[in-house]
């Protein structure tokens, strides 16, 4: 027993030492070292893109995948000691949090200028790489285009009673609630949500479930992100045309038309030629097309076409709001729970 214990301890020590000794390579960033990228976007989506980057530039990439918020928290704890050079985030909020603590280095003006001003940090600390819009998905058999509401606030009207699906725990729905609070104030947000709750909306676990239910005619309307319809179309024989569902965009400037972005920032003190090339790559045609085709998101760089069936980016008119200010979700959650929606 004791012998075995000693043996186990020895094995353990060897493992620890080998782990430590391989730890001496951190630090310097000479040519040929991998670029360390923290990605809050999914590996299945970003992995192939990183390979394309390495192929076209010869710069190897070491990615670390995680949730955007968890990685942002880790980056804040790591501070200047971080090995990360680039942070790729699912949403603007996580980038805003790093910017607020001075953890993001300013990007080059020529990089920022490639993306419309509303989809990047006003201070130039991060830039959006792809966009997603809130829409009302509807069943084309059950709903005439003429009967579509202009504003999300119309959904409290009696003709929508029991007819609207929503995903109360989905982050994008909650961002919409935050935008509503920021744009219209607490009182109007509360009275809308109370009216919405009283109108018997149908709660679903997620956006994909809503699109499925709408396409199947189980519910006429649903509040979702625009790309779920295209994801369903990609997995359906006959594509978009065979689905009995379509996206309706709210009127320009409506809180329901919120456009959020996934974006990229470079960590303070880590900017070099490789990080610049990486940001350039994400804003380049190849990556922008990749986002447009693979995720059906809106490419944010002018000249790159949106996926077939999607309106051009210029037609999108979300409310004007600084996306990194959508960081008061806690209050939105409290409000949702107050009015009985979660």
């Amino acid at each position: 027993m004791r012998r075995r214990g000693v043996l186990l301890l020895q094995v353990l020590l060897v493992l620890l030492l080998s782990a430590c000794s391989s730890g001496s390579d951190s630090g310097g960033s000479s040519e040929g070292d991998p670029l360390v990228v923290y990605s809050g976007r999914n590996e299945n989506l970003i992995g192939p893109l990183l390979e394309q980057f390495t192929e076209s530039t010869g710069i190897p990439v070491t990615p670390r995948y995680g949730g955007s918020a968890e990685l942002a928290a880790a980056l804040l704890e790591e501070g200047e000691a971080t090995r990360a050079q680039v942070f790729l985030s699912q949403d603007a909020g996580a980038l805003g949090a790093l910017q607020a603590e001075g953890r993001l280095a300013p990007l080059a003006q020529q990089q920022l200028d490639r993306v419309p001003a509303s989809y990047r940090s006003p201070a130039g600390a991060w830039v959006g790489v792809s966009g997603r819009s809130r829409v009302l998905v509807y069943n084309t058999d059950l709903v005439q285009a003429a009967d579509l509401p202009g504003s999300v606030l119309d959904l409290t009207r009696p003709e929508f009673r029991g007819k609207v699906a929503f995903a109360p725990t989905n982050a994008s729905f909650q961002s919409f609630v935050t935008a509503l609070r920021v744009l219209r104030g607490e009182d109007q947000a509360r009275s809308f949500l109370q009216g919405f709750a009283a109108n018997e909306p149908k709660a679903y676990p997620g956006n994909a479930d809503i699109v499925n239910a709408v396409a199947a005619g189980q519910v006429p309307f649903g509040l979702v992100n625009h790309y779920y319809l295209y994801e369903k179309a990609d997995g359906t024989e006959g594509g978009l045309a065979s689905l009995r569902a379509a996206n309706a965009y709210f009127t320009p400037g409506d809180p329901g038309a919120l456009v959020n972005v996934a974006g990229v920032g470079v960590l303070t003190g880590k900017a070099d030629e490789r990080t610049a090339r990486f940001v350039d790559f994400l804003l380049g045609e190849q990556a922008q097309r990749y986002f447009a085709q693979e995720t059906s998101e809106f490419p944010l760089v002018a000249g790159v076409p949106t996926k077939e069936g999607l309106p051009p980016l210029a037609d999108l008119a979300g409310p004007s709001i600084d996306l990194s200010r959508l960081d008061t979700l806690q209050e939105s959650l409290a409000l949702l729970s107050d009015v009985g929606l979660t």
């Binding site: 027993m1 004791r2 214990g5 186990l8 301890l9 353990l12 493992l15 620890l16 782990a19 430590c20 391989s22 730890g23 001496s24 951190s26 360390v36 999914n42 590996e43 299945n44 989506l45 070491t62 990615p63 670390r64 995948y65 995680g66 949730g67 918020a69 968890e70 942002a72 928290a73 880790a74 804040l76 704890e77 790591e78 501070g79 000691a81 971080t82 090995r83 909020g93 996580a94 805003g96 949090a97 109360p168 725990t169 982050a171 909650q174 679903y204 676990p205 997620g206 994909a208 479930d209 997995g235 960081d327 008061t328 979700l329 806690q330 939105s332 959650l333 409290a334 729970s337 979660t342």
Partner: protein, 515 residues
Amino acid sequence: MLPAAVVPQPAAPVRGTAAPLPLLLVVPAVVTAAVALLPLLYLAVRALQHGPAVALDVLWRHRTAVVLGRSLLLATTVTAACLVLGTALAWLTTRTDLPGRRLWAVAAALPLAVPTYVAGFAWVSFLPAAAGGVGAFAVLTLCCFPYVLLPVGAALRHVDPAQEEVARSMGLSPMRAFLRVTVPQLRPALAAGGLLVALYVLSDFGAVSVLRVDTLTRVLYTSYTSSFDRTPAAVLGLLLVAVTLVLVALEARTRRGGLPVRTSRPAAPTRLGRGRWPATAAVAAVTALAVGVPVAALAWWTAVGSSDGLDTARLLAAAGSSIGYAALGALVTTAAAVPVGVLAARRAGRLPAVLERAAYVGHALPGIVVALSMVFLAVRFTPGLYQRTPVLVLAYVVLFLPLAVGAVRSSAGQSPAALEEAARSAGARPLAVLGRVTLPLAGPGIAAGAVLVFLTCVKELPATLLLRPLGNDTLATRLWTETGVAAYADAAPYAAVLVMVAAVPAWLLSGRGRA
């Protein structure tokens, strides 16, 4: 480190000897306790970074009271349900003539292999109405009752059946005799199992996030994910630690008094008579709900989804990483737990009790908090080890230490202290007594603890996600990746292998309890 002179002497030893505490045990036990307390350092720094007024403001918020109440309600109800369900199943599988009871004893331990996020997904995908407080109660109960079943089953095999037989000969029904005579003797096992359930429920994020119940842990998470503010999260983390310490003290109070007496005589199985088949149906139903539903969901996802084809090499690599990290985690955690557990079992007095309680501090904390503590500390003090295996293993130690400490304490407590005294009086050195008497006698129990830590490490997600070495994947992190793009068909193989890897130790546990 505490010099020997500072160590308080036990005033009135309850068990064990009044000899001075051996430094051989005290020094490593203090080190272990210090490691377990590491997250407190981080939480204190973060909670107070904007001054005590901000921290108190978070604490006095109405919402904090509401979610604390909800967390405690969930923990209390799930613990109560697990105590009833776990004891009933333990009795049926050890003390009755239930048809196929050995098989059921194994099956009833298998829910330990199912991560709560998988169980949650499974229930919601079959039954969307499962979302909510009642659903979370049901899913957590079905995932957690083995924490009661295993220690109670082991204790039932050791409790002397004579007293119960006397009670029955005096006219008590089998059920009454069990409740009035045997259950009080099971108190230590019930208390230990109940504590693990309660702490698990407090720390759980998987089930409550899928089933959408705003518990303290979920609100703590949203504080990171929504406002990117680490202060409220840290304050809520400290609140969780406070609740943990209260629960641990309660458990220690409940545990006091009853020590199961080892017996070599097995109890004569109670005849269930006409109740046999209803009892079998009930056991089968619990197993079906706890294991069958998640497994069916995995099969369903595989069947309906369109998969791009399975990357077997990647699956095997992830399985290898999972097993490697979990094995290291189990090994180090158990080694760290031995001095704390042996001291707690053998010595009365304040220091062993304090060291043992310290070991529980990290257990009710959500993985993300412990992970961020490790990030905070490693980056500052051991930058060379950051994002390498040792720091990940250390996080496992902090998170799962109580699973091993409990196993060491209860198994060391069951062997007679007189054997150690005899060895000592025969001139054996303390190290020899520990290595040749104490540990071998407690060996099976300690191994069971290590196995429990292993399977819990395999299921762990948040800390693994942040701390695993760059470029390495485990089954849990791959599963997370695949479900993140709603690719349930691609996720199913990872979930299935994860459940299988964790099922082997669960199966071992169900058998080891028999020893």
